[in-house]
C-alpha cells in the first residue's frame, strides 16, 4: 500500500526527539510496546482478519462453524446479486447525503453564520441546545425521538395536529435523516464557527460598502476562505454518518428493511442470522470505503499545512 511511503501527518517544528529525561532506548521501547500490543490485537488484527473471513463460509452455528471453508469471492458475487444488500447500499447513500452533506453541513453553516450577528443570550441558548443534542448518549436521544415521533401520543403529532401519523413506520428514512441532522449539527456549527472567525472583517466590510448582497458576500468573500474547512467537514461527517449505528435504536432497520443502512445490514446478517463469512465480506467493503474517505481527509490536512 502507498500509505507507508506517505510522509508524516504533521511535520514537527524544531527537533523534538531529545531524550531530556535520559529515558534510553530500552525503557522507551517498554513504554511504547503495551499500547501498541493492545492496538495490534484489538484493532489491527480484526481489520486484517476481515480480509480472510470474507473469503470463507464461516457461520455462527452448524457445520460451517466448526470447519469453515474458503469459498473465494462467492460472498462478493452473492452481495452484488442480493437485492437486500443493494437496497441497503442505496439507503446508506441517501442517509449520508441527506443527513451529513445536506442536513448537518447546511444547518451547521447557517447556524454558525447567523449566530455571529445574534445577541449574546440567543447565541448561548442556541449553541447549548445544539451541543446538548451532540453529547447526550445515543440510547437516550433515540428514545427522545421515539417519544417525539410516536403515533398515538407523540409530541410532534400534537404540535402539527396530525394525530395517528406513524412517522417511523411511514417515513423511516426521512425520520432517521432528520434525527441524525439534529444529533450531529454541533460539529459542523463549531467547525464553521471557527472557520468564519478567520475571514478578515475588513473584506466583508468592503463588500458590504460596495453594495454586495448577503449571497454575494458569502460566495465571493466567505467561501474562498473556508473552502478547505467545508471539504474537511464533509469528509469527517460523512465518515461518521456512514459508520453510525444509532438508527438501529430508532427503527432497527425496519419496517421491512426500509431503513436498513449498511451498519444495520451487517449486524442483522452476521450477528443475528449468524452468516459471519458473508457479513465479513460486507464489513470489508465498509472498511475500504472508510479507508478512501480517511486517506482523502489526511491528504487534505497535509496540503493545508505546507
Amino acid at each position: 500500500m502507498a500509505l507507508t511511503t506517505s510522509p508524516p501527518v504533521e511535520p514537527r517544528r524544531g527537533s523534538p526527539a531529545t531524550d531530556a529525561a535520559g529515558l534510553g532506548r530500552t525503557r522507551a521501547t517498554a513504554f511504547v510496546v503495551p499500547a501498541l500490543a493492545l492496538v495490534a490485537v484489538f484493532l489491527v488484527y480484526p481489520a486484517l482478519w476481515t480480509i480472510y473471513l470474507g473469503l470463507t463460509n464461516y457461520r455462527l452455528t452448524g457445520l460451517a462453524a466448526a470447519r469453515p471453508e474458503v469459498v473465494g469471492l462467492e460472498n462478493y458475487a452473492r452481495a452484488l446479486s442480493d437485492p437486500d444488500f443493494l437496497n441497503s447500499l442505496w439507503l446508506t447513500l441517501l442517509y449520508v447525503l441527506g443527513s451529513a452533506v445536506l442536513g448537518q453541513c447546511v444547518l451547521g453553516f447557517a447556524l454558525a453564520w447567523m449566530l455571529r450577528s445574534a445577541p449574546r443570550v440567543v447565541r448561548t441558548v442556541v449553541e447549548s441546545l445544539v451541543m446538548l443534542a451532540w453529547i447526550l448518549p445515543s440510547s437516550v436521544v433515540a428514545f427522545l425521538w421515539i417519544a417525539l415521533l410516536d403515533r398515538d401520543n407523540g409530541t410532534l403529532n400534537a404540535l402539527l395536529g396530525t394525530p395517528g401519523m406513524g412517522w417511523l413506520l411511514q417515513y423511516p428514512m426521512l425520520s432517521i435523516i432528520v434525527f441524525n441532522t439534529w444529533r450531529g449539527t454541533a460539529f459542523s456549527m463549531l467547525l464553521f464557527g471557527a472557520a468564519l472567525n478567520a475571514v478578515p472583517p475588513s473584506q466583508l466590510e468592503t463588500a458590504r460598502m460596495s453594495g454586495a448582497s448577503a449571497w454575494q458576500q458569502l460566495r465571493d468573500v466567505v467561501f474562498p476562505h473556508i473552502r478547505g474547512h467545508v471539504l474537511t467537514n464533509l469528509l469527517l461527517i460523512s465518515l461518521w454518518t456512514f459508520n453510525d449505528f444509532a438508527p438501529y435504536l430508532l427503527t432497527a432497520g425496519g419496517p421491512d428493511g426500509r431503513s436498513e443502512i449498511l451498519p444495520i445490514f451487517v449486524y442483522q446478517t452476521a450477528i443475528s442470522d449468524g452468516l459471519l463469512g458473508f457479513g465479513s465480506a460486507i464489513s470489508l467493503l465498509m472498511l475500504l470505503i472508510n479507508l478512501v474517505l480517511a486517506v482523502v481527509y489526511l491528504r487534505l490536512l497535509r496540503e493545508r499545512r505546507p
Partner: protein, 273 residues
C-alpha cells in the same frame, strides 16, 4: 432602520426561532417526564413527583447497569490514559525509527476501523478468546479503539511541553522515572485530563460494542439496559425510562461543562479535545 432592514431582522429571528424549536422540542421530554406523576410520551408540564426516581431503586437492572457503565468507562479511561501517556512520552522524547509513519498509520487506522465496520471480526475474535460476556473484553476492545487518537493527541501535548525542566531535574541528579513522576506528569496534566474525560465520554455513550459482546443483563451498561427498557415487550414504563435517561445523561453533561470551562474544546483531526 429602513423597512427592508426591518423585514430582514424579523426573518432572521423567525429562522432562529424555528431552528431553536427544532433543537429544543425533543429534549423537553427529558426534562419534564422524569418528574411527572403520570408521564406520557407527550411533553407536558409535570405534576411534580420524585416517585420515578425511587422506582429506579426497585428495578433490578437500573442501578447495576450504571455501576457497569462506571466500570467500563473507568477501566477504559485508566488503560487509555496510562498506556497512551507512556507511549506518547516515549515517542515524543526518544527517536524511534519510523515514528512518524507509525503515528500516521495509527491515526488512519483508528478512523477506519470503527466499532461498526469491524463488528464482525471483533465479535469473532472475542468469541475465539472466550471473552464473550466479559466486561474486561469490552474494556480491551474499546481501549484498543481509543488508544491511537489518544497517543496522537498526547504526543502533541508532550511535544509542546518544554524539555528544560526535565534537563534541569536531571542535572540535579533525578533518575528518569523520578523525573517522569515529578516533572513530566504535572506538566502534561491538562492533556492527560482531557484524554481521560474524552475516553470516559466515548465509552459511557457507546452502545454497539457492549450490545454485541455482553449477554447477561446484570453485566450490561446503562446504554444497553436503557435500550432493553424501551424495546422489551409489554407496556414501556415511561416513569422508569425517563428518570433513568436523565440520571444516565447527567454525568456526560457535567463532564462536558467541566472540560469546556477548564480547557475549552479545540479541534484536532476531527477529535474534540
Amino acid at each position: 432602520m429602513t423597512a427592508r432592514d426591518l423585514v430582514g431582522r424579523v426573518a432572521f429571528y423567525v429562522v432562529i426561532a424555528v431552528i431553536t424549536a427544532f433543537m429544543a422540542v425533543p429534549v423537553l421530554w427529558l426534562l419534564s417526564a422524569p418528574f411527572d406523576a403520570a408521564p406520557s410520551l407527550t411533553t407536558s408540564l409535570p405534576e411534580w413527583t420524585w416517585q420515578n426516581f425511587t422506582g429506579l431503586l426497585e428495578n433490578p437492572y437500573a442501578l447495576t447497569s450504571l455501576l457497569n457503565s462506571v466500570l467500563l468507562a473507568g477501566g477504559s479511561m485508566v488503560l487509555v490514559t496510562a498506556l497512551g501517556a507512556l507511549a506518547a512520552y516515549a515517542l515524543s522524547r526518544v527517536h524511534v525509527p519510523g515514528r512518524d509513519v507509525l503515528l500516521y498509520v495509527l491515526l488512519l487506522l483508528s478512523s477506519i476501523v470503527t466499532g461498526t465496520a469491524a463488528m464482525v471480526p471483533i465479535f469473532l475474535l472475542m468469541f475465539e478468546l472466550n471473552m464473550i460476556d466479559s466486561r474486561l473484553g469490552v474494556v480491551l476492545v474499546l481501549s484498543g479503539g481509543l488508544l491511537p487518537a489518544a497517543i496522537f493527541i498526547l504526543k502533541d501535548f508532550m511535544d509542546a511541553t518544554p524539555r528544560s525542566y526535565e534537563e534541569s531535574a536531571r542535572v540535579f541528579g533525578a533518575g528518569p522515572l523520578q523525573i517522569l513522576r515529578d516533572v513530566v506528569l504535572p506538566t502534561a496534566r491538562p492533556g492527560i485530563a482531557t484524554i481521560a474525560v474524552w475516553a470516559i465520554v466515548q465509552v459511557w455513550g457507546n452502545f454497539l460494542t457492549p450490545f454485541i459482546l455482553l449477554r447477561s443483563p446484570e453485566k450490561s451498561p446503562a446504554a444497553v439496559v436503557l435500550y432493553t427498557f424501551y424495546t422489551e415487550g409489554g407496556q414501556a414504563d415511561l416513569g422508569l425510562i425517563s428518570a433513568f435517561s436523565l440520571l444516565y445523561s447527567i454525568p456526560v453533561v457535567v463532564m462536558y461543562v467541566f472540560v469546556n470551562r477548564r480547557y475549552g474544546f479545540r479541534f484536532h483531526g476531527g477529535i474534540k479535545r
